[in-house]
Symmetry: C2
Subunit: 208 residues, 2 copies
């Protein structure tokens, strides 16, 4: 790390070539371009992570169906009953929100790779993308919260209003739901990091 | 609106005074300062709105206690039972999140007024405040989602897992909860607008 920093400092502090090499860009521009490039690479990596987490969260949630024999008050006294994610609106909201986030991350990864190849237009692109990032963050965070709240009632129940816990019967279903919510939380954090990276990158471009 | 835009354009396009008035700032700087000032005023207004919505959301949620006579299976067959917000972890989370948002908005309103009075340091302040705005947006949006999901179960119930609706017994309680969640949603939207305003204001300061 130290050697890299020294090189960067040397690059910045090196005097501009006097004459004879008019085509070479000044060292300050080179250093700034290198910083912009680093931001763009981290941006692409975070967007790929967002896509992966959205895909896994949706898949784990959708494949959570579990059928168990439960007691019923009339003959034959036991009947198979399935627990599915689409029995709760909160889980449907989570699947919808992360499907949108997945498609969005595919499109923006491509745009981000384009900005990596053409750094000239990256500022404008970045400041437009971050707007949608913030809106998606609101949706994704609320979906994670909603699904988490319902899953918590399923796990612990609520004795005050007589809502019984579900997870002692449907253990695999609850493991799927819990994993999906954990991955959703990771996706939300990735989206927060994306927004913070864009803001940091924008504020770096403002002249002192 | 048209006349204002024309005046602004005239200000920007007016040629700089040649000599004789060295103390007057160039018109570009004046126009830029005016834009920065406008952003700062909207910033202060949005932060005051955030404080108001956080305060009202917490107060409406905390004052939601309702006691009703409910049927019980043993004599005297009817007993008073209270519904309070702190019987659900999701509602406690909402109160905690918006209490934090309220205190945060007081501090940042003061900082924002300070930036309005001293526009020189507003860029640095703004780019630091927006980081916390984004983090708070994640917390506030997830709290709104969590409380909304639990309130929806209270309103509609969930027949698949046998969770019964609560709102036919506790009508005033549910009105309080619903109002509080609606105001929370408004607060989350205000926070999104604050983040977008900061990003727009930062991107305006980048030289073309």
């Amino acid at each position: 790390m130290a050697s890299v920093e020294t090189t960067a400092l040397e690059k910045i502090e090196a005097p501009a070539p006097a004459t004879g090499a008019p085509k070479a860009p000044p060292p300050e521009t080179k250093a700034a371009a290198s910083i912009t490039n680093n931001f763009a690479v981290i941006d692409v990596v975070l967007r790929v992570l967002l896509f992966a987490s959205a895909l896994v969260a949706v898949l784990v949630m959708v494949t959570s169906k579990q059928t168990e024999l439960v007691q019923i008050p009339f003959p034959p006294f036991r009947a198979p009953l399935a627990a599915k994610f689409n029995q709760s609106p909160a889980f449907i909201y989570l699947v919808a929100a992360f499907s949108v986030a997945g498609f969005y991350s595919i499109i923006t990864t491509l745009l981000s790779v384009y900005a990596l190849l053409k750094p000239d237009c990256s500022t404008k692109l970045l400041s437009h993308l971050v707007i949608f990032d913030v809106l998606l963050l609101g949706i994704v965070a609320s979906a994670t919260g909603a699904a988490g709240a319902v899953a918590y009632i399923g796990l612990k129940g609520n004795s005050h209003v007589g809502w019984q816990k579900v997870c002692d019967n449907y253990d695999m279903f609850c493991k799927h739901i819990g994993s999906s919510i954990a991955i959703s939380l990771f996706g939300s954090v990735v989206l927060v990091l994306l927004v913070l990276l864009s803001i940091y990158s924008l504020s770096k471009k403002i002249p002192k």
